[in-house]
Chain length 372, copies 4
Amino acid sequence: MNGSVHGTDETSPSSAGGMSARVRVGIVGASGYSGEELVRLLLGHPRVELTAVTSRQYAGRTVAQVFPKFASHSGARTLRFSEPNVDLLATQAQVVFLALPHGVAAEFAVPLLQRGCQVIDLSADFRLRSPDVYREFYAHDHPAPDLLAGAVYGLVEVYRDTLRGAALVASPGCYPTSILLPSIPLLRQQLVKTSGVIANSLSGVSGAGRKAEIDYLFVECNESMRPYAVPKHRHLSEIEQELSAAAGAPVVIQFTPHLIPVSRGILTTLYFTPSQHVQGADQAAAFADTVAACYQAAYPDQPFVRLLQGNALPDTKNVVGTNVVEIAWRVDPRTGRLIVMSAVDNVVKGASGQAVQCFNVLSGFDETTGLL
Amino acid sequence: MNGSVHGTDETSPSSAGGMSARVRVGIVGASGYSGEELVRLLLGHPRVELTAVTSRQYAGRTVAQVFPKFASHSGARTLRFSEPNVDLLATQAQVVFLALPHGVAAEFAVPLLQRGCQVIDLSADFRLRSPDVYREFYAHDHPAPDLLAGAVYGLVEVYRDTLRGAALVASPGCYPTSILLPSIPLLRQQLVKTSGVIANSLSGVSGAGRKAEIDYLFVECNESMRPYAVPKHRHLSEIEQELSAAAGAPVVIQFTPHLIPVSRGILTTLYFTPSQHVQGADQAAAFADTVAACYQAAYPDQPFVRLLQGNALPDTKNVVGTNVVEIAWRVDPRTGRLIVMSAVDNVVKGASGQAVQCFNVLSGFDETTGLL
Amino acid sequence: MNGSVHGTDETSPSSAGGMSARVRVGIVGASGYSGEELVRLLLGHPRVELTAVTSRQYAGRTVAQVFPKFASHSGARTLRFSEPNVDLLATQAQVVFLALPHGVAAEFAVPLLQRGCQVIDLSADFRLRSPDVYREFYAHDHPAPDLLAGAVYGLVEVYRDTLRGAALVASPGCYPTSILLPSIPLLRQQLVKTSGVIANSLSGVSGAGRKAEIDYLFVECNESMRPYAVPKHRHLSEIEQELSAAAGAPVVIQFTPHLIPVSRGILTTLYFTPSQHVQGADQAAAFADTVAACYQAAYPDQPFVRLLQGNALPDTKNVVGTNVVEIAWRVDPRTGRLIVMSAVDNVVKGASGQAVQCFNVLSGFDETTGLL
Amino acid sequence: MNGSVHGTDETSPSSAGGMSARVRVGIVGASGYSGEELVRLLLGHPRVELTAVTSRQYAGRTVAQVFPKFASHSGARTLRFSEPNVDLLATQAQVVFLALPHGVAAEFAVPLLQRGCQVIDLSADFRLRSPDVYREFYAHDHPAPDLLAGAVYGLVEVYRDTLRGAALVASPGCYPTSILLPSIPLLRQQLVKTSGVIANSLSGVSGAGRKAEIDYLFVECNESMRPYAVPKHRHLSEIEQELSAAAGAPVVIQFTPHLIPVSRGILTTLYFTPSQHVQGADQAAAFADTVAACYQAAYPDQPFVRLLQGNALPDTKNVVGTNVVEIAWRVDPRTGRLIVMSAVDNVVKGASGQAVQCFNVLSGFDETTGLL
């Protein structure tokens, strides 16, 4: 970790001079799991000066006091949480990450953009292009519909070019990331039908956030496997928006999330019907090759997309703590169906890592800076 | 627990007299997880005298020495593991449970049947009616094809009548149990199409057996979620056999098992296409009612089938340690699809509990004896 | 499970007649982990008619709705949670279990005793004989000091005779149970010194109760091991009271609890200095034999005390779900010290199972009724 | 990660030229948990060129194939496991890490030292100065007793000066690290008595190694807490050797290890008797200050020693994945005893991280290089 921090305890002018190449960055709402992971990544980011972290709950305490595991980083010992204050933030930071609940994020995004900050929002507030869809899935009117058109959906592997220089980035949700990266190339290439898509997803408990609720107590989650939010989870809205954009036609999918007793990770198993009829072992093998070629063309040399070879299948333990998505696929000669499996860390590639990846693109840095 | 044991340390004639109503039972291969659970259930069974447990590995040791947690039962302190010996078993036991690997079970089943024992086999050896299908999925010739026609598939809720008095019972696999119980009534009633069925299953690690393999070490499974055996798991053979029988037509399904870091439990999420077209909220609600009626008709007063009401969804922690299958269903008005979710304990309803349930039917006892 | 329930949905007079041999029992505060376990045990208790379960939070709902895993028991489907009401309880139940926070339990115990109920309290309210010690450890005045002298500490293996016919039982804490059962015989026999005793205890997360607190979320506990409440945990008060009583002299011990990512179980490792000097392998072996003889004399044929033989050491997984305490001991020839290790299920032998054991003694039933 | 790799696929001469400042390093036995962690740390080490990793089991496969989670590092995709070959290793590497079982490590250390390599051994082979103690605890004669005198015990915070330029480093065991770092300053300053020291330690399952044994299966460890190797674990030999050296007098301690269901981490709770009599709150507070001053003097600005302040207590989840040891202490005014608690990651600070820290000192690099 070689990030830099401008702590409240003061840094010397000379060291400040050496930071000229760094971008001043703030985090609003740094007390949840995504916020904590942002702190970790940005403290260690060589092109970032982390100047502000806000949390009503922790205001006044140092990052090291709140998150002892970061205490080895000198910045964590000097930087203090503050109450969120838009005017102050706008002077402290060029780029602000929002790790807030949906609905609340927009309240910060609007004034920060007005004051000239770039905003990377990890909530759902700016992921949807349509305020109507937002209302349908989030049950209230969108707080800032005028901003929707200008926001860029931060799925870097898909929207990299649009992201450069964007003012407002909507960092994708965790489930959507695990579903969209393996699905978009197939739909763009029309290798699979737009109907009948099923996404069966398993999530670790950090996906529920750091909230004091009985349902997420250790004893309630340990030795438990359970579906939830069947059949209409909120993330469907952004998933179908992006799948439809890829297909050039409306895509409605079946999506079933499950809660699993791991701290981190999402494992998604996708079921597709190939556009062409596939029957028997030879056609299955040929179609598997077509899929492989499609992925390799879509993700050539992508540092964070790992296309598994041979007998390998995704395992969340191989991606936890990293910004990588693992993808594998099989064509079943008995059913003619394509099965695609993906694994991500819901807090990294599914949230904070992807947000930092967006930041790198936005800022013109190498996309992997601070993420390897 | 009030089972009885005829241990090697001798019991008094008078107590033996009081056991006249008990069935003498033996377990071959009692060292794995299914065998251990059989020991637990049969030690506590009020109509069973457990007279023999065999294990090459543990021969000579008492049940309490091998499984300290059963030591509170006096029978566990006197009954000793022995080397498996068919002649001796046939004198000791009227009913023999086989908890052995497939292929090995048949070696015991054949001579035990010849000697007049009833056999309840927990392996895959007698689940398939076709030796060809067996060869396709198990990669060797069936060791006793003549017995296949007479074996009864021990899914009690489906084959109860056939089970009474059966000589050879093939107790179903864990995944099949979690898939068949929710699927068979729908297919029998032709509420869903026979094509396009998808079963996405999650299993605890005990499903892999008590085998010293790196893949199942704590460190390899903890904080891991992974699919395996994609797309052709062996259990497909018995699943499709039984689904086809229910539908009266060939059924080929998509089945994806996943390994999850819990000790016990299977959570299966099934995707069906309704036979009739379902569109919109009203039709979805109506079809959900039809499904409910179908299940209630198929499983009236079934002690081990719990049809969930209201907002409840299955959770493996609510069935672990019990012989219950939990089933819930939702009809998605957006996709017109039926989603059915089930939860079982893979070692109880998915193996040993179901085998004891078979035993109860076989022996004319109340089906729940020793299982509540 | 063959308990009986008088549900709010009414049972027929004739069935009520068959219940003449059953004790009518109520549970106040049945929504936490101890309360839930009491429900499980009392539903299955052959001499109990569970007539009332109270919970402000769940009032109006059936036991089966709140705890789906008990739904196989018919009583769970008819019995409904009610608001706690002392007058009503006194008509419904002869014996009332209190599974409430300390301080609150006394508010129910006093009026219930006045109305003639027997009370088995699982809180700390009546465990201490001295209101001064209570104030020191619980930071408020004792709410009913007059009752302390008459309350019986419900450690059955130690106070069995006093328990018969007691009106008010203070069921011991989980840590105290794991410490007292292995320690009391040694101190009574003066085999170990009263000074220098150390108890290092590990607890599963259910010990923290079903409380919505961040510290006990899955993500905060999983992959975590941590001491807490060092050096003065509240349970020290009852531990030292009982150790002193056993020794006939004041005993002050060192006690360090730790939180471990398991749902259930307490593993305690105790360090004692033998009264006689022990040096070398021969003396160590001889002293180990003396300890063995002491335990065997203290716990002859105790159904819930398992003295481990040979190389066996306690493992919480061998006691979880049971009312058993496992005890093993070693004498170290290098240090001359005695190490004693114990394992219990904190919710069963450490709480609800022990309370039912008390109930059995109180009611003149076999001590193991409903607990094997 | 910006380490470099000289893979078998060849690198260009020009890039090799840029590596002049890097040390060529090999790892023998890179298939276990310590070896895997060494691979991770050395791939990411900016002053290391990882030139060889050996494993009989994995020979011929790339690091990325064996450990998919490292595949994002280009080096992992080119470097292949090879059969261990001392002559080849001596040409490939200047420094060789041995991650082998005890007894086997010496077979490689001897010839590698003869060929001029520096050796950092993670096994127990060179930790003890006395071949007699080795024989007592490891049950066979030491394979290379002549090397014992020259080996340096790699506890960097204690032996930093001796480590510079050492030819053979014996990297400490995991339990010893968690015990020695908090104990040595106290014994050196004679703040505590040398007798009566108790170390109660809890270890994650990776401490047992990646071995296919039933005892370490997920199902056997999950929901289990158990002591083992009581009262004489092998690590006592090096612990007592180093404590005695610190105290300048023989120290014999009580040490009880326990297996806990976490993948990683050691939590040790130490009990000491202060040299001076401590009684009551004032003396306890004063002695706690003395202990604090002792630790601050012993570990000023140590990057990997975190002395906890205020109410904080160690938690393994705050050190997992890092090379940090957390230490906290309390003085109990009731018993006059000092309790010290420590937490480390058994695979990092307890093994591979510490070995890399040794390597940094040995090579004259900043001690934190590649470890923050």
